[in-house]
């Protein structure tokens, strides 16, 4: 019998995720010590700056070497490290059920990604919550940092079923209300929005205005992206099954170009608002995709 942890976090994936850290690009004001930079100065190990000694400062922080050279009293200040609250927002709309020829369904792939991220973040002391949108926006789990919370996250990922067609804006706004400022929101979706992603961009912008870090992981299959476009058929959108289009995507050279243009435009608008856009393909192993992404973040 398999458990959610072995389903979504097989040993091979855990091996690749060992030592991986997703450092926030924003300054985090957390309650606990963590790996992220904090606006507070204090007991950290990273030197921040010198300042003039003021009455009441702890003499343990005086820089005696500098006093010897300058004959003035300076205090050494250090950056504190803090943890953050984060939300994994998973798209469960009907389009996420699509798997392509012999591939893994996008929702399943999103589950792998979410599980891996939860494992890494909880391991780093971050609080991780879980939300989903599809038929309706749902906040499934509030942010928790305890180790046992990972199991709850995996269980909820296992229970996700595709269906419906709903926008991501609603759930993002609810996450914004629930989550402390300066948190992290990771949206895992195919971003096939009826409005072309306008509401997504706006909602992500609102989160960014709060000081949250917003990351969008776009998941697409090779059939959808045009890398392995299907042969002729009568195609329909799972979220709008009554709408059918007779087409030959494999023979349609413009198909892949139009798909790429859509996502490029959406990515540009997201980046304009400081949202990190990460395109993923179901043809790519999860661990490789995540490791590559984290390495790119480190610069």
């Amino acid at each position: 019998m398999t458990t959610p942890s072995t389903d979504f976090l097989p040993p091979g994936l855990l091996e690749h995720l060992g030592g991986l850290e997703i450092i926030a690009k924003t300054v985090v004001r957390g309650f606990q010590a963590g790996i992220h930079r904090s606006p507070l100065r204090g007991a950290g190990e990273d030197f921040a700056k010198h300042r003039d000694y003021q009455q009441g400062d702890d003499v343990r922080h005086l820089d005696w070497k500098l006093y010897a050279r300058t004959d003035r009293l300076y205090v050494r200040e250090f950056e504190e490290r803090s943890n953050l609250q984060s939300y994994l927002v998973v798209d469960t709309s009907a389009s996420m059920e699509y798997a392509g020829a012999g591939g893994v369904p996008k929702l399943r792939y999103a589950g792998y990604v979410a599980a891996a991220l939860a494992h890494v973040m909880i391991g780093a002391g971050d609080a991780v919550g879980l939300a989903a949108f599809g038929a309706e926006p749902r906040l499934l789990l509030g942010p928790r940092a305890r180790k046992g919370h990972l199991h709850d996250v995996l269980l909820n990922l296992e229970r996700l079923t595709p269906g419906g067609s709903g926008g991501v804006a609603g759930v993002l706004d609810r996450v914004g209300v629930t989550m402390r400022r300066g948190g992290r929101v990771i949206i895992i979706s195919d971003l096939l929005e009826d409005d072309g992603g306008a509401e997504l961009v706006a909602a992500a912008g609102r989160l960014r205005a709060r000081g949250d870090e917003v990351i969008v992981l776009r998941i697409l299959s090779p059939e959808e992206s045009g890398e392995a476009a299907p042969d002729a058929g009568l195609f329909f959108d799972p979220e709008h099954p009554s709408r059918e289009v007779p087409a030959s995507p494999r023979q349609d050279a413009g198909y892949a170009r139009r798909v790429a243009a859509y996502y490029d435009a959406l990515a540009d608008r997201l980046r304009e608002r400081g949202v990190e856009y990460v395109p993923l393909s179901t043809a790519q192993p999860v661990e490789q995709a995540l490791v590559a992404w984290v390495n790119r973040r480190r610069g």
Binding site: Y98, E224, G233, L234, F235, F236, E244, A247, D252
Partner: protein, 474 residues
């Protein structure tokens, strides 16, 4: 080898089998419906809304074509025939009482054996034994031992009936297996006892070709002929008739067929010198000639007078004329001899001492015979050279019977050989070997129609099962 009774159905089945193939190829159907979340980026291509279907389910297509082919083949009435074995024989072996004389029976069995058994002792046809009735010997029993046992046992004591043998031919021909052609052989000692008027049409109906007649030598033939003519000299006959009349040829030929040397004498000519033991008068004679003829009869000759000469010899004849009756008919002799087609009938009755030797259908005397000294005078109440009776197969035999005069060769059950004409009728004309298909021999194969139909039904069941499975899976 497989042959077909109605091969047109085979062609129809083949054509019908092309129908599902054509439907499979020309049917246009919409393309498969498939989900694609990025459908919004597709450009509608009307050419893909319908497409020419390629065979998508070859197994189902093959089953449907096979079903129609099998159905056509079943209706085509296929028959499996074993390898052709050339000519098959049907031997009609006479086992009547006449075969008992001399070595006839052994010769007959040997002749039948020679025709029926191959070098390996296997039968080459059917054996029919007949006397008054015919019986077919089962093919499995036809072997050398059978012929040995037949030769060892005597023939039956019954007279023969050729009609019974002829009627057995079609049945025997139908049971032949794998023969290209069929030949019929009749091994017999030809006797009038087996004859009747229906032989000629029956022979034609029973067998379209000629029958190979193996006529065994007749041990009593010389005796029988001797009944007609006592000595070689006595076989000379005189026929008083108009030689210019073409119908005269009929009695001449009939008498010759029974062994007489016939001299035709015109009624006005003088009577030839002594030597003729038979004088047939078929024309009115002058009084001088009448006296000479009567004296010739008294000296031992047989005088046969027909209706044309009765009036000129009336006083010398054992015949008492009665009122003339113009209604002619058939004449019956003792022993079953029957002559039809008489054109004229002269009524009369025998005088004292004379004997009726033939009668009309109504029982009135048709011919009488009476002694005249050492000879005999026979009177026939019809003209012997007129009417259709000259064409009757029994005509020669009737003349032969009349020529025997006051002696009755039929008395005591003696039977006389068939004349050449009757033999010719019995053997018939045409090819001796007839194609097996013409006599039903080709029907002897194994009919495969119901098996092919059963196979078609099986294929139909499999096709239905598969199609149902495909539909459910879809």
């Amino acid at each position: 080898m497989i042959t077909f009774g109605t091969p047109a159905f085979l062609l129809a089945g083949a054509l019908a089998a092309l129908v599902p193939l054509a439907l499979h190829l020309i049917r246009r159907r919409p393309p498969a419906r498939a989900p694609l979340p990025t459908e919004r980026f597709l450009t509608a291509d009307p050419r893909t809304s319908v497409r020419v279907s390629r065979p998508t389910d070859l197994l189902l297509l093959a089953l449907r074509m096979l079903l129609l082919l099998l159905a056509g083949a079943a209706f085509a009435r296929p028959v499996w025939l074993p390898a052709a074995r050339g000519t098959s024989e049907i031997v009609l072996l006479d086992r009547g009482a006449a075969m008992a004389s001399g070595d006839g029976w052994r010769q007959a069995v040997a002749a039948a054996r020679q025709r029926l058994l191959g070098a390996d002792g296997a039968p080459r046809g059917e054996l029919v034994l007949f006397d008054t009735a015919a019986g077919r010997v089962p093919r499995r029993r036809i072997n050398p031992a059978l012929f040995d046992s037949l030769a060892a046992a005597p023939p039956s004591a019954l007279p023969i009936r050729y009609a019974a043998a002829l009627r057995a031919i079609p049945g025997a021909a139908r049971d032949l297996r794998g023969a290209d052609s069929v030949r019929v052989t009749l091994v017999t000692r030809p006797r009038w006892g087996g004859w009747n008027d229906g032989i000629a049409p029956l022979r034609r109906a029973a067998w379209p070709g000629a029958i190979d007649l193996v006529a065994l030598p007749d041990a009593v033939q010389a005796d029988s002929l001797g009944a007609d003519t006592a000595t070689a000299e006595a076989k000379q006959a005189i026929l008083f008739a108009d030689p210019r009349d073409r119908v005269t040829a009929f009695p001449v030929a009939a008498l010759q067929a029974t062994g007489w040397e016939v001299g035709v004498v015109s009624p006005g000519q003088p009577l030839p010198p002594q030597g003729a033991t038979l004088i047939v008068v078929s024309a009115p004679l002058p009084a001088a000639a009448v006296r000479k003829i009567v004296s010739r009869a008294a000296s031992g000759a047989t005088l046969v007078v027909d209706a044309a000469a009765i009036s000129s010899l009336a006083s010398a004849l054992p015949w008492e004329p009665a009122r003339a009756d113009s209604v002619a008919g058939a004449i019956w002799f003792d022993g079953g001899l029957h002559l039809s087609g008489a054109a004229r009938r002269v009524a009369g009755k025998p005088r004292r001492g004379a004997k009726v030797i033939a009668a009309w259908d109504d029982g009135q005397p048709a011919a009488v015979a009476g002694r005249s000294g050492a000879g005999c005078v026979v009177v026939v109440g019809t003209a012997l050279a007129q009417g259709e009776m000259v064409l009757d197969a029994a005509y020669p035999r009737v003349l032969g019977r009349l020529a025997r005069g006051c002696e009755s060769a039929m008395d005591g059950g003696a039977d006389v050989p068939l004349d050449a004409g009757a033999r010719a009728v019995l053997s018939g004309a045409g090819p001796r070997m007839v194609a097996a298909g013409a006599v039903g021999g080709s029907g002897g194969g194994t009919a495969l129609g119901r098996w092919v139909m059963a196979a078609a039904l099986l294929v139909a069941a499999v096709e239905t099962f598969l199609a149902y499975g495909r539909k459910r899976a879809a």
